[in-house]
Symmetry: C2
Subunit: 493 residues, 2 copies
């Protein structure tokens, strides 16, 4: 047995334990009665510890360096590179810091659930201070190992290959045009008439509609499910992808688009290369690329004129008792492309969303690089929300800096992925449109050519290439924010 | 840290991995799409291996013998006894035999699914021969360790403390009266008129009815769920018990009683001592005692005149479109107490069920003790079915010796648990009736006193006492088959 083979066996084992964690995590969010939470939490913590032990198993250091000397194919070499990355990320942080951060994270997240409801920044900030401090320690250790800035080291956990120099450039560019563009769009939409949903949209009917859209978008129900959870997500494993949504019986609009979004995540997972199943080179490339697929489905396809038009007849059929004017193609299109600055990131439209991300990026970057203190967060939040979106969050922590779960458990470096995803998605669509008549595909309901492009250019690539190589290979150029700007301009102006 | 404390920490960890196995097993049977089966099977096999490694961890031998010298409370001593039992059972069999049996079992069970459908004894017997041979090897090794017969060593896995001498006595007694009693009952019922269910019993309505019965029977929905699977079972963990059923939309009768049966299993699990959660002394005592709780709920409570009467109004309310005569108390009672010899154990009524068990007991006992060959099974089956139930299974392997899954994976020694459970249940009811007016409880819908008795005498005892001690302590006497005979006589004659 070669060292490379020993490694693939080890990582296959690791993947099988991750499979168990994915199923039990999904169950916890969708099926588990409340009373099961204590024991489930303990079982999952035990499993997380076991997974950590497998990721940091002492024999891996030797095996990884021995395997480097073996003759490997390009794909095997890529797999070894990703194994090494996973091992380095897991081993570089001392076990007691891992445990301290995990405990502080659980405490902070748990407290946050009530403190947010009570708009209690004061109470929250003591827990938050602890998480920030431990995350700063983590970032510094990772920075030393990676020879980069503290924040860049955290970013690398979610977006390998992307650093804050690149983000400063991308977001700096965007800043020059996003706020004026938003203003222009708002003015244009001001005079538009539209009808808000009203009536009963029963869960069963919404579910039927959601499954119809999933089928249209090629979701493989033999390898996945749709269920309900309070926070929508895409979980499970590539051969059994579990997506969730939540339903509001007074409005189907958000839920339907939420399902389309998660379907994008799901198809990426379902489309990953089976020959590399369970191996690091076979995993999704990055959080940003994952989001590029969900946003491709939601923003590039889902909210397009052609797709709304294709869905309209089915929407009308599923809700026969609802006013036809509300469910008209024109009205649905207006509802699905409405732009309005607001407090809450997860409710934001695609035009104002990047502003939410930029402000979080700037704050978390400076927090990790120890340029600011956790105490500065509310003021910075208020100031930046005012500057980017003209929204006043003074004293409103609940809908301000306390609105997201990400920082409560120390996931600093995650937020940029959302907007990188939007940019990648626009660039992919531009590349696809240069070879495929996308509107015609959507109008005829035959999306196969679009999915075939995504499958061969993105999904089937797993993590074999780096993100930069993948983007270049798929679109012929490096990440270029201009595609996103053109997309917004052509849809909204 | 004492050795006893080291052991409780180790067994708590083991329990947490068993928790993961229970959740993933439940998901596999209820939620998982077919395409997820391959990866799930691999993940669960990996987990089973890890659990086996924890059960046989090399340090346990020392810890167990050191802990024996420590000062322990009665409960701690019982826990140590059960830990030792678990360890001995897991370590006594060499790893290669464990693996060989597991592989042969999977192969045989997999082949059985189609071979049974094709009535293909010839094809099945080659796989079955392998499983029998490996199980015989296992039984001999266990017998040597336990200083008992081969079959008794297998029995000990499911019914610790019960041996074939005791079973020969119990079943020998039953044989003298069961067949004549069955004849008498059939003759009595021959002239009875009753109406078979007909009409549509929609799954949602059956579910609502099932949940109503579960609530009436004290199932704690904060610590459990009801779902659908092709083979009903009770799984999950004590703080999150998952019961399942299957629905036939042309007949609600079996499904409702199936739910009541699983509710009995569930309440035992939900009622286990929380102070011993995750520790061997806190687990259910035996398979027979588990079945005693499900059969107490199904046979002693569920099919009683008083309980059927208490359910009738709700059954009629749930199915308003169904003929009232069919749903009358008198008719339901007849349907729920109909006695009829048949081929299939799982479809048998409580009067003929023990005959199915006795014949399997006699065959598996002689198989494990190498008194007969696997080749003799069909003839013995045919002969005994004729003798005990007057039913001819010649050439019908499908509904004969190939009907059960138990022997396909080598679970020899399990079958007696079903009838031990029926006997225990009758004895518990007799003891309860000596202190509680059971019919009055059921008529007023206030079953709390009955459950309090079960909780304090059975559920809260976990595995602290041996089964024999538990029965004696709860009922004032050893297992006495007379209670079961009297129960059948008073209900059916
Ligand atoms: Zn997403
Ligand atoms: Zn049962």
């Amino acid at each position: 047995m070669t060292y490379y083979q020993k490694l693939t066996a080890h990582f296959a084992k690791l993947d099988r334990f991750n499979h168990l964690a994915a199923v039990c995590g999904w169950d916890q969010a969708t099926m588990m009665p409340t009373g099961g939470n204590q024991a489930r939490g303990e079982a999952m913590a035990e499993l997380a510890l076991h997974i950590h032990q497998l990721r940091t198993a002492p024999q891996l250091a030797d095996w990884l360096s021995e395997a480097k000397e073996e003759t490997l194919s390009i794909i095997e070499a890529a797999n070894l590179r990703e194994m090494t990355r996973s091992w380095q990320q897991a081993t570089v942080i001392p076990d007691d810091l891992v445990q301290a951060k995990s405990l502080a994270g659980s405490r902070c997240e748990h407290a946050w659930r009530t403190q947010r409801a009570n708009n209690d920044w004061q109470g929250f900030s003591t827990h938050f201070a602890e998480v920030v401090s431990l995350s700063q320690q983590e970032a510094q250790i990772r920075a030393q190992a990676n020879n980069c800035s503290a924040y860049d080291a955290m970013l690398d956990l979610y977006e390998p290959g992307v650093d804050s120099a690149q983000l400063d450039g991308l977001f700096g560019d965007m800043k020059t045009w996003l706020t004026p563009l938003t203003q222009q769009i708002i003015e244009k939409q001001q005079s538009e008439q539209f009808i808000q949903p009203s009536g009963l949209f029963a869960v069963e009917q919404q579910q039927a509609l959601g499954k119809y859209a999933m089928a249209l978008l090629g979701f493989d129900f033999n390898h996945g499910r749709l269920d309900i959870s309070s926070h929508p997500f895409c979980g499970g494993t590539p051969s059994d992808v579990r997506i969730t949504t939540r339903y509001d019986e007074s409005d189907f609009v958000q839920s339907l688009m939420g399902i389309i979004h998660e379907t994008g995540h799901a198809r990426y997972e379902q489309g990953l290369p089976k020959s590399l199943a369970g191996q690091p080179a076979g995993f999704a490339r990055s959080m940003g690329l994952h989001e590029s697929q969900s946003l491709f489905f939601e923003m590039q396809l889902g909210r397009s004129d052609a797709f709304i038009s294709a869905l309209t007849a089915n929407i009308q059929r599923v809700f026969p008792h609802i006013d036809k004017a509300m469910l008209s193609e024109q009205n649905l299109l207006k509802l699905y492309t409405r732009v309005q600055p607001g407090f809450i990131r997860v409710d934001a439209d695609e035009v104002t969303y990047p502003a939410h991300v930029m402000l979080r990026y700037e704050i978390e970057r400076d927090l990790m690089n120890q340029k600011i203190s956790y105490r500065d967060v509310p003021d910075l939040w208020q100031h930046k929300m005012q500057a980017y979106l003209g929204v006043d969050t003074a004293g409103n922590f609940k809908d301000g800096c306390m609105q997201d779960i990400h920082w409560t458990d120390g996931s600093f470096g995650y937020f940029p992925s959302y907007t990188l995803g939007a940019m990648y998605a626009a660039q992919f669509m531009a590349a696809i449109k240069s070879v495929i008549d996308v509107n015609q595909c959507i109008q005829t309901g035959d999306l196969a050519a679009i999915f075939a492009w995504l499958e061969s250019h993105i999904w089937q690539k797993g993590s074999i290439m780096t993100t930069a190589e993948l983007i270049k290979h798929a679109t012929g150029e490096s990440l270029n924010v201009e595609h996103f700007r053109l997309h917004l301009q052509s849809r909204y102006l």
